[in-house]
Amino acid sequence: MAINVRAKYLNKTEEMSFIDRLYLPAIVKGMFITMKHFLFTKAYTVEYPEERKPIAPRFRGRHVMKRDEMGRERCTACYCCQYSCPAECINIEAAEVTGDIRNNHPEDKYARVFEIELLRCIFCGFCQEACPKAAIYLEEFYELADYDDRSKYLLTKKEMMETEGKPVKYRV
């Protein structure tokens, strides 16, 4: 199969003509082709921090935990996400909902601790798929690079949770 429609088949048994064997015409032709690129083709470079490529609607970036329409945390610490996580990077500690926090949680159980080790996470999105409460999503934030401080990569519930009415504040 030819790689593209412009590919030409050469009959290898055919002797090259004298002009072909001079190579100079072919070289000049090639030089004009590169010059065409030099002068007329626009660079494809996306100058990253200033320009960004649009991301796909189902892009899987950093995790975000959602609240329901009444502003309560959706997550009920069912462990489905932890169970399905292939990288085993989710750590949940469940606790009973009592007293004051009742109006903050729809059910009797909630996640007292909910951590994701980002360095182990492979951003597969299985947690998002597994969640029966639509509580965890991988959203568009992807600039996770950092140096020095690895403790930043232990994502806590506080960092992931939407505050009421406001989008999640991403850490840079």
Binding site: T34, H37, F38, K42, A43
Partner: protein
């Protein structure tokens, strides 16, 4: 002031100015090469340091200085350090004989814009640049690395083979100008563009151009470096400033090659159809214009070298040797013979 003091001062000033210009230029070719390469490949290239990336060579220089100096354990220490030093020294020496422009008048005396006007200028340059292979050979051998050694061997074989064709192609030029002095060769081409050696000696020019491309170790003859096969050949084991020295000398060689092409085949500082001497300009202004013309022409050929690099693929080793010995050498000989016959008859 005594006469000789002025002479020495002028020589010193010329030397410093020359080397300053050459080193600066070579540093900026590294930027030019990278940016032009990007344009050929529809990219942007380094454009962050300063406007258009103009401070990039400075940043690179600082980076090279700050890096750790590593000498491989089994390398031959003395020769390992000698390699790049020798290479850059030899790369700079030919500039003693290259004229940048016509004459100017300083302190009441005529000063040629050339460090020395040797009567065997071209011969001197070829002789010196042929020692350059030792810089490569020593560096490649002393690093005690198979890729370095292979690169060095390839490079020396290539340089030796192509020097012969280059020399013979040049002999035809000497026959026409009747002199080995760079200045005389330029002046012999001054009358009109049709006296430029590129039109008088088209075959010789092609042979010379291909040979000098091989002499500078540039694509398509970069077998000494051959990133894909030999990592980078003879300077694989070099890092930090020693690598920078090799890199810089290669670019200096590139400028030397372009300057040679300009002065041997494209009329040096002559402007087509304009006679600077008859325009009634002051001597210094005419001198300045001649320098600019020379630099522009040389710069153009530097660009052509870069252009070729991003167009052509690398030769195979046997193809390289075939081209050198079986095609270019006979062509150069035919050219020399034809020129000699014509020069005798006319």
């Amino acid at each position: 002031m005594e006469e000789w003091i002025i002479d020495i001062l002028i020589s010193l000033a010329k030397t410093l100015a020359f080397f300053g210009v050459i080193l600066l230029w070579a540093a900026y070719i590294t930027l030019g090469e990278r940016r032009f390469a990007s344009f050929f490949q529809n990219r942007l290239g380094p454009n962050r340091a300063g406007i258009f990336g103009l401070l990039q060579p400075l940043a690179d220089g600082i980076k090279f200085m700050m890096k750790e100096e590593i000498i491989p354990k089994n390398a031959n220490r003395a020769f390992y350090l000698l390699g790049p030093t020798l290479f850059i020294t030899i790369a700079l020496i030919p500039w003693a004989a290259i004229p940048f422009g016509d004459t100017v008048v300083i302190a009441g005396r005529e000063v040629k814009l050339q460090i020395v006007d040797l009567n065997v200028g071209i011969l001197f340059m070829i002789a010196v640049s042929s020692i350059g292979v030792y810089g490569i050979m020593i560096g490649g051998w002393a690093s005690n690395n198979k890729y370095s050694l292979l690169g060095a061997i390839r490079s020396s074989a290539q340089l030796i083979s192509y020097e012969i064709t280059m020399g013979i192609a040049l002999a035809a030029v000497f026959l026409l100008s009747g002199s080995l002095s760079t200045r005389d060769i330029i002046i012999a081409q001054m009358q009109s563009p049709w006296h430029w050696n590129v039109f008088v000696q088209p075959l010789g020019f092609i042979v010379f151009f291909v040979s000098i491309l091989a002499e500078t170790n540039r694509v398509p003859f970069d077998l000494a470096e051959a990133e894909s096969e030999l990592i980078v050949g003879y300077h694989t084991e070099y890092g930090a400033f020693k690598f920078a020295m090799y890199m810089l000398s290669e670019y200096i060689n590139l400028i030397t090659a372009s300057a040679l092409i300009t002065l041997l085949y494209f009329g040096g500082w002559g402007i087509p159809f304009v006679d600077l001497g008859r325009l009634g300009l002051s001597v210094n202004l005419a001198g300045l214009i001649s320098v600019i013309v020379f630099l522009v022409k040389t710069g153009f050929f530097v660009f052509v070298f870069i252009w070729i690099r991003w167009t052509l693929p690398r030769f195979r080793y046997d193809q390289l040797m075939n081209l050198g010995w079986k095609i270019l050498l006979p062509l150069a000989l035919v050219n020399l013979f034809g020129t000699a016959v014509v020069a005798l008859l006319v």
